[in-house]
Amino acid sequence: MATEVHSLQELRRSASLATKVFVQRDYSDGTTCQFQTKFPPELESRIERQLFEETVKTLNGFYAEAEKIGGSSYLEGCLACATAYFIFLCMETHYEKVLKKISKYIQDQNEKIYAPRGLLLTDPLERGMRVIEISIYEDRCSSGSSSSGSSSSSSGGGGGAGGR
């Protein structure tokens, strides 16, 4: 987390937010948490369609795993019921475990794929599971989005050099 924060802070210092794209929920399967895999047009020039779709599909897979109704979830539910739900005070639910996995995955994707392209994924949990928020950053001093390294050094002086 520290590394990611550090590199993302670098990104933030060196770039400025241009716009945000929201990937909405896909309710065609009911109330289960799934996101639309439709490629937003604003990302057209920023990232390959396939990478984006793969990210969303993996996230959808994680959420499906979290909400899966099957043997282990029944066991957990019955055990919890038998203890009048006091067991939730000590134990972490299956859903919470999967959410931790998701958060790690998003961090990972941000570091490896999205931050180098000037994009930032926000964990849907922070947005009430309604949207995947993708922040698009414009590089301050160059039009390209991939040169965050060079621009971070130039703006490392806290942007004190106003004129550029």
Binding site: Q9, R12, R13, A15, S16, L17, A18, T19, K20, F22, R25, Y27, S28, D29, G30, T31, A66, E67, K68, I69, S73, Y74, E76, G77, C78, A80, C81, A84, Y85, F86, F88, T93, H94, Y95, E96, L99, L120, L125, E126, R127, G128, M129, R130, V131, E133, S135, Y137, E138, R140, C141, S155, G158, G159, G160, A161, G162, G163, R164
Partner: protein, 491 residues
């Protein structure tokens, strides 16, 4: 107003200059306030909820009836254990107080779980999301349909072959997921909204439905148990000393019998009703409205049902428990490092500032910025501090008034709103609530807000961002503010 530079066009570098220096002077007073007492998110939660134990416990605002429920259960059980159990454990078996104790423990555990947990509240949309949705809605409706009363905002989705309409919530600025509903008493959108239960002092939704069901089920067993054994106790005593003497010897039994007699019908009835709902995978809301009944049409069926009763029950009671989406105990980000960066941080900081300065004038100010920001988004690099808070409208209190009165006026059936045995009064309230919500919120929502006057004494963050905004295209601002003023006059 912030003296920060950048009087020219919105150049990135100039903006960054403002933001970097901001930490030194203009931000300092609110910063100092923030630094000394970091606030937790529950303290600025926009809904009408009460929080206890530093955000760990969450309840509705009206908790009077909940205390009544607690008192009834505690007193009746207490009297049972104190007066009836000694006699019964001697005469019959000590298993009676043991089983009674287990049932009582279960009832209290599930009651407290239902009352204190988050029912599945959906957090309100961030300003960016709300702006994005507004844009999409405008595109979908066509700008010509603007004006005073735009068409209601709905989205249609096909779920398992059934067409379901998703409504736009004007308070929370989101399209409600299927089965979610806005509770007017708590002023929150709740996922899989069942009903608002005053007896439990909370909404019943996705996250606490199973606790609620286990509560009423175990309470039915407890009530029947106490009733049966109190009667047994009186009968056994009256075999020895006569009926009237038996009553005189244990007056507590009379009280318990009376309480249990009146509660057993409603509680057992409610348990039965909810068992039916669970087995058909419906919510009280849907059942009352007849959303999936055959009366609406032959092809109308419940798209959420798994087909068989067993799976429906298991899914409702033993399915995975989703975590709370409102981070109650999280800290509002202090945002010092993020201020030096781009607007992502500023949005959050500003949002929290504005949330903590909750007054009408501030709402107007923030609403103005929202309008301006929506108009000038592509030109701006920062997003102004905006909340999606609403001016509390009188319509809401008028709805909650009759609701609360109706439920309180029926002490015997402890069913929640909507009431099983209730008349049409309550059932009218539920659809009424949504209409009211739509009407009341229509104009101010639609604007998205009336523009206030640019504040002179506003908190520094506001002025900071306002300064940034004033650099944007003034024509669109002017147009928007005029449009907003026109809408404001129509409220």
């Amino acid at each position: 107003m912030t003296p920060g530079g950048g009087s020219g066009p919105m150049k990135d570098c100039e903006y960054s200059q403002i933001s970097t220096h901001s930490s030194s002077s203009p931000m300092e007073s609110p910063h100092k306030k923030k630094k000394s007492v970091p606030k937790r998110k529950w303290e600025v939660f926009p809904g009408r909820n009460k929080f206890f134990c530093n955000g760990r416990i969450m309840m509705a605002r009206q908790t009077g009836v909940f205390y009544l429920t607690l008192v009834l259960i505690l007193v009746t059980s207490g009297l049972f254990f104190a007066f009836d159990c000694p006699y019964l454990s001697e005469k019959i078996t000590p298993a009676i107080p043991a089983i009674g104790g287990i049932l009582f423990f279960f009832v209290m555990g599930t009651l407290l779980r239902t009352s204190f947990s988050d029912p599945g509240v959906l957090p309100r949309a961030t300003p960016d999301e709300a702006a994005d949705l507004e844009r999409q809605i405008d595109i979908a409706n066509g700008s010509s349909s603007g004006g005073y009363r735009p068409p209601p905002r709905t989205k249609e989705v096909i779920i398992n072959g059934q067409t379901v309409k998703l409504k736009y919530c004007f308070t929370c600025k989101i399209f409600r997921p299927p089965r979610a509903s806005h509770c007017s008493l708590c002023d929150n959108c709740v996922e899989r909204f069942d009903h608002h239960c005053p007896w439990v002092g909370n909404c019943v939704g996705k996250r606490n439905y199973r606790f609620f069901y286990m509560f009423i089920l175990s309470l039915s067993f407890l009530t029947v148990f106490i009733f049966a054994f109190v009667i047994t106790h009186v009968i056994l005593r009256s075999q020895q000393t006569g009926f009237l003497n038996a009553l005189k010897d244990s007056p507590a039994s009379v009280l318990e019998a009376v309480v249990c007699f009146f509660s057993v019908w409603s509680i057992v009835g409610l348990s039965g009703f909810h068992t039916y709902l669970i087995s058909s995978n419906q919510t009280t809301n849907e059942d009352i409205k007849g959303s999936w009944s055959n009366k609406r049409g032959k092809e109308n069926y419940n798209p959420y049902s798994y087909g068989n009763i067993f799976t429906n029950c298991c899914a409702a009671l033993c399915g995975p428990l989703s975590p709370s989406l409102i981070d109650r105990r999280g800290f509002i980000q202090p945002d010092t490092p993020q201020l030096a960066g781009p607007s992502n941080g500023i949005t959050m900081y500003g949002a929290t500032q504005s949330q903590s300065n909750m007054c009408d004038q501030d709402q107007c100010i923030q609403s103005t910025k929202f309008v301006l920001q929506a108009a000038a988004t592509p030109l701006l690099q920062s997003e102004p501090s905006i909340t999606s808070e609403e001016l509390p409208l009188p319509g809401k209190t008028s709805i909650s008034g009759p609701c609360a009165a109706l439920t309180l006026g029926q002490p015997t059936p402890p069913s929640s709103m909507p009431n099983l045995t209730s008349d049409s009064g309550l059932t009218d309230i539920i659809p009424l609530k949504e209409e009211h919500e739509g009407h009341q919120f229509l104009t101010p929502e639609e604007a998205p807000s009336p523009p206030g006057m640019l504040p002179s004494g506003s908190p520094i963050t506001h002025s900071h961002t306002m300064h940034v905004l004033s650099l944007a295209s003034q024509d669109s601002l002017h147009e928007d503010s005029v449009r907003g003023l026109v809408k404001l006059s129509s409220v």
